[in-house]
Subunit: 336 residues, 2 copies
């Protein structure tokens, strides 16, 4: 492992120049820069991130905090963020909060070690103390997926998404439209559910369809939860809805399976629409609202990079609202 001095010697310059040439900060003549690069590759030199960080105060590393790993949405955001960071030359340190002890130590120790230049918080509901600790870092922070008080957040417009989903069903002639959303417990961590429900209700109201509490089933965003909620909703043939809007694709899959088990055909007897465009959505032919979580991760990184290195920005993701898109497949059809 050669050090900067050996590169300097080989290139016939000082260590300072090597540093400048390799990092791109400060001016170096093209010729020297070239010689330095060659010397560096020849020796297989790679800067020691610790020494560099200590001296410069920059770590080229961002922390990303997620509540779980085992849900499709988080890993997709993570992939987007990871790949964007890599292309900017940044490392990504992962903090998974699954568990109270872990949660405490992440906020009270790990994030304070000055190992990160910035933090991305994914779909987290944080206590005010946790938010305070984050802000105390005096580092750029951006949230993805859920509004955090005092922290800038990238989120899709959940109300608009569910309005769109519901309007799609209405436009197909459905009026008996049920909704499977989140329950109180789930709300704690996401507060996405409420927004989705609001959009659903707005759409119904605009269409002059009265709201019916019996058409709402709380669930937990999982396949299994969706299955049980759907059974509940579809069980009574006299009150059966003709369409279900599920607040996540996984719950929509559960709904499709429940409908089959009840002998209903999708979409003939029941239309189903979800939200996410999950990896399985195409397989199930699920009509859904895509929300591009990878892009969300990517955008979060762009926002941070813009703060970290103000001139480097390529595209203006900062003021673009996050996109979503209705993907019409084969689980929705005209009401009979």
């Amino acid at each position: 492992m050669p050090g900067i001095d050996e590169v300097a010697r080989l290139a016939g310059v000082s260590a300072a120049t090597v540093s400048r040439a390799l990092s791109g900060r400060g001016s170096v003549s093209p010729a020297t820069r070239e010689r330095v690069s060659e010397a560096a590759t020849e020796l297989g030199y790679v800067v020691s991130s610790n020494a560099s960080s200590l001296a410069s105060g920059r770590t080229r590393n961002v922390g990303i905090v997620v509540p779980f790993l085992n849900r499709w949405f988080y890993t997709a955001v993570l992939e987007g963020a990871q790949s964007a960071l890599l292309s900017h030359g940044y490392d990504l340190t992962l903090y998974n909060l699954r568990g109270d002890a872990e949660r405490r130590s992440v906020f009270e120790d790990f994030l304070l070690r000055k190992r990160v230049d910035a933090v991305i918080a994914v779909s987290l509901e944080l206590t005010s103390e946790e938010v305070a600790r984050l802000l105390n870092l005096k580092k750029p922070i951006v949230g993805v997926g859920g509004p955090l008080p005092g922290i800038r957040t990238l989120s899709v417009d959940d109300v608009a998404i569910s309005r769109l989903a519901t309007e799609h069903l209405i436009s197909l002639g459905h009026r008996a439209i049920a909704h499977i959303g989140g329950d109180a417990e789930f709300e704690m961590d996401f507060h996405v559910p409420t927004n989705r429900r609001v959009g659903y209700e707005q759409a119904l109201t605009s269409a002059g369809i009265p709201l019916d509490p019996a058409r709402y089933a709380p669930s937990n965003f999982s396949l299994e939860g969706g299955y049980h909620a759907a059974k509940q909703l579809l069980g009574d043939p006299r009150t059966r809805p003709t369409a279900v809007f599920a607040a996540s694709d996984e719950m929509a899959f559960g709904t499709i399976l429940a409908a089959r088990d009840l002998g209903m055909r999708v979409p003939d007897d029941l239309s189903v629409v979800g939200v996410d465009n999950h990896a399985y959505a195409e397989f199930f032919g699920l009509t859904t609202i895509a929300q591009f979580p990878e892009l969300q991760g990517r955008s979060a990184v762009e926002v941070l990079m813009d703060e970290l290195q103000p001139h480097t920005r390529t595209i203006d993701t900062l003021n673009t609202p996050l996109p979503f898109e209705l993907m019409v497949r084969s689980t929705t059809a005209r009401a009979v």
Copy 2:
């Protein structure tokens, strides 16, 4: 952000003593240790990992390299590893290889920055050059899930797993047992498929059941892939198997859905067994072989910790073969 000197001043000792007291290396009297800890908490002091790493050569950070994030197995391993690392006070830097450019820079730049004390490679098929680079780091490395030439690896016994799965079917009286495994392309990244097929064939042969190439369908370990492979296998009613052993739960789910679509009942007309104990397995009532990927991640960390801090080890995960377990649910039944 207070520095070590302020803590030293408040505790009335030198910076060296603070360092010793807080890190646990070198001897400090209990009384002093106590005073130092108090001073540290009072000031909210947390060591700067960069300064510490630079001075000590230890980073308290391990890198984990995965080929994808969007498969259940990887995130499960990741969760296990993350949580184990956290409890040891280590950070986890994630490298996701999805893409050639990314792959190159991970191996040629990122891993060389001396930011990690050790590396975990998950289910990776590496070129010999990549392996060489890893070994060149002179850092502890452990693989999870696939044998890497020259690198110690933790893997379940895939042959034994699939022998068990197949024997379970045989013991239920099945003789027409099909297998859905990996295809050539997939083999590149995992080489798990071959082992699974070997176990399947061993079990059949031991039971005196002749192998039939028509009973094997290659696929790609996905739900969709399993679905199509199963349709192929089950399509002809005259040659239909009475049981299917799928090399992953996702493919098993696909098989179940394909069977339904063909009007077959599971397990009455068809028994299905998978491998993984995927999060959805219980929902589908799938009989499967659990392989505890979280534990695999956890064990990988224990192995590394054992090298990094030789005396600290709690349990002996080093010489224990990785466990797997047949979970009998409701997709397997006696052959009719």
